[in-house]
Symmetry: C2
Subunit: 479 residues, 2 copies
């Protein structure tokens, strides 16, 4: 092994050992399954042994020997993880199917040209490229939305309600303990096509509500905002288009950081004047500063600010959100929805409504090392992106809106919940297992025309005649 390869492996190993240690401490704090902890400790110790070996530069090592591990930021899903995953995905797919959705699959990599420029500068850096082995230049998909837009444009599909559950790839700094991987599942539901205003959005919100309700994760809130309202606010404070993305990124931090810190960032790093920043704060914090107002009142009161009311974009955004709120009432989801002028989300391609579901109070029964509830944050988000398909086929006008579920985070939450509730996870569907407990036992039972039934939970054993086996089993399984 070359020294450079060993160094890079060492670095990865150290990262991983640290993360595994964090994870084990978290599991212990939550009284997780002992077998699971044992398994994790064994995996960490194996890595520590390797680390020692690599640090010692064991020269006696056989050539061709290598570290046995998954690529950095990726993981195996064992049988338990898959069982949880399947139960969560069943809730998702049942919901999508109930809403008439179809599903598709696209290649895991795309022509690099297809992905280029669609994720913005930051996203572009995180894309995995395939090696040029002759032929086309390829990159791994970064999300499922851009491939969907490519699919619609290429196949000239002008209307489709589709869901897509698959893995995507980002060369980000992984934080396994917080469920952040380089290879991770996304679960997207999108409605492409021209419909009456806000009808597809209402269905997306309804689906978020149905899924989160079925997952039974405690209280959640679906924050709602509009790209045009953000555009309007930024125009009013005199911010120009070139600042849009970076200002959004700062504003988006308001759910985690105090205004003072965000304000400093807006002035020192984003180039806003102190006046503009203060003005922007009064807009994006409107809900926070007026805690007694309901959804419609927040919008109405903001429209009393003359400059906002005079901005055509802001006005249009408000009108659309108000219409959406009436549909939310009709669909019975208005209680979960909260108009939030600071919601910006990262992606540049949103053109209309944007929304994000959060579990604000952390997970019931799950706490960190200091006994504090573990905050969960965003578990789903989406919005309208009317321009994306047109980037692939200039003549195609296929407006889209959709929602993406933070499925890895949801897996992690359900796993933690199962641990907290000491839920038994079945990894196989076997109800009756046929076995010969000793050599040649089969022959004796055959002769007697009987079989021995053993309840593996109660360890109770009964001998049953062969012709009564089926009825006995049926009765026992029904019990």
């Amino acid at each position: 092994m070359s020294a450079a390869v060993a160094d890079s492996q060492l670095e990865t190993l150290r990262d991983e050992i640290k993360q595994q240690g964090d994870e084990i401490r978290l599991l212990k704090a939550n009284n997780a399954d002992k077998d699971l902890i044992k398994e994790k400790v064994a995996a960490m110790n194996a890595k520590k042994a390797l680390q020692k070996k690599l640090e010692g530069g064991d020269e006696a090592e056989k050539p061709g020997k290598f570290v046995l591990k998954c690529p950095k930021g990726t993981r195996d899903y064992g049988a338990k993880a898959m069982a949880v995953r399947e139960s969560v995905l069943k809730i998702m797919t049942d919901t999508f199917k109930r809403h008439g959705a179809e599903t598709i699959e696209t290649p895991v990599f795309e022509l690099r040209d297809v992905l280029l420029g669609k994720y913005g500068e930051e996203g572009g850096k995180l894309v995995y490229d395939l090696q040029d082995q002759g032929g086309e230049l390829l990159s791994m998909r970064y999300d499922l939305t851009v491939p969907f837009a490519r699919f619609l444009a290429m196949n000239k599909v002008s209307a489709m309600k589709r869901y897509h559950i698959a893995r995507v790839y980002r060369r980000d700094q992984p934080v396994m303990t917080r469920g952040r991987y380089r290879e991770f599942y996304q679960c997207d539901f999108d409605i492409a096509g021209t419909y009456d205003s806000m009808i597809p959005e209402a269905e997306c919100l309804k689906i978020m509500d149905e899924v989160l309700d079925a997952l039974d994760l405690g209280e959640y809130t679906i924050k709602l905002n509009h790209r045009l309202m953000l555009d309007g606010m930024f125009a009013v404070i005199g911010s120009d288009d070139s600042q849009f993305k970076s200002v959004c990124a700062s504003v988006d931090k308001l759910d985690k950081e105090p205004w003072e810190k965000v304000e400093k960032e807006l002035i020192n790093e984003r180039g806003l004047t102190p006046d503009a920043a203060a003005r922007l704060g009064s807009f994006v914090r409107f809900r926070e500063l007026n805690p007694d107002l309901d959804n419609v009142a927040v919008l109405d009161q903001m429209m009393l600010i003359p400059e906002l009311a005079a901005n055509a974009k802001f006005k249009k955004g408000v009108e659309e959100i108000k219409l959406l709120l009436t549909y939310c009432t009709a669909f019975g989801v208005s209680n979960a929805v909260r108009v939030e002028p600071s919601l910006a989300r990262g992606l540049d391609y949103y053109t209309g409504s944007i929304y994000e579901a959060v579990i604000p109070n952390g997970l019931p029964g799950v706490a960190d090392d200091e006994g504090q509830p573990v905050g969960v944050g965003s578990v789903a988000g989406g919005g309208r992106y009317d321009g994306l398909v047109g980037m692939f086929a200039a003549k195609a006008n296929v407006p889209c809106c959709g929602v993406s579920f933070g499925i890895e985070r949801l897996f992690a939450i359900i796993e933690a919940k199962n641990t907290a509730e000491q839920a038994a996870i079945r990894t196989s569907s076997t109800q009756v297992f046929v076995a010969s407990a000793q050599k040649n036992l089969l022959q004796q039972e055959l002769k007697d025309g009987v079989v021995k039934l053993r309840n593996t939970q109660s360890r109770e054993e009964t001998t049953v005649k062969l012709d009564e086996l089926e009825s006995t089993l049926t009765r026992m399984l029904a019990a």
Copy 2:
């Protein structure tokens, strides 16, 4: 666009247009769904237009313009293809689960070191590498077996019955019309662990039988052979170990090519003497040359050849296969199983029994341009590979055997069968669709307390009172 990029795109385009043409002719010959043909023709024409543009070197073209396509050898799975895929996979997963299997998922790429050398020289050339972007060197998985072995070794799992359905990657020359892609699904079932001899093999054969039976594809045969029998035959003719793989590759062609051609290849390209080749022919064609013998008789008669009987490996192979045949009888699958001494299969890692399911007579109702039945060939295969896990962890002794279904071929067969049977494919699960047929119609119906029900097949319409809606729908759906 650079000239080189345009040239490579042109070459790909021409390949694809030719393949699409072939596919369209095949679809027409089989009276396929008109919409499907129309769709395919439109896609081909779009490509032809692009070809013209690229050949003309359209200089007026905007910069950044690119060909809208999937990477070479990959495809989108649209809603119809996914519906077929889901129905086929449901049969597979139901069968695996009935046998008590669990499922896992592994990263789509592995450390290059993990894959290196596991696929032999030929396979190694076909592996997709990821670009070195700093950090670890990664490659896309080529099958699901090597990742499974890595999973077992890394997680110190000594026994597991698992299935894994996922896509794998090979930079092979794609032939889309014959279902050969660079990105394609594999569906594997494997049993890892130490069991009584031939018990896991019997379960694999039983599973192949259950799946093929449930898929209802007409007659099939499961060919059966043993690595040690092949080793024995090769030893008897004086072939050395270095020739094993290449001689196997030639022998494996016997199901498609006449002996005379294979014999020539063995002498001219594989370096066998004419005597050795003739001798080998008499062994591997033993079943073909003795068509009246049954499975056991083939083995018994071969054991009457003194040199084979004297070879310890050959003898052990025969004993194992005979034991396996008794289990096949107990499992009721012996009619489908056929001992076939010429079955060699490609992979070097098999150490015991090898098997392969074929549909010999082509697909009922599906014919090529000249009205000949389309041969289907191998649809599943596998065997025992006791050494693979040990390549990752020297101390681990985890014997394995398994079966891999040629799921892409099965998808293609089922799609062709659906076309031949003019089966309607439902791509959504929607049974009742709620719609407002005209603007403001909703308000009038609300006032009257009624809704209009329309049967979209019969186009029959009835107006139903709201409080009778549920019972009416239940009745209509049950009918």
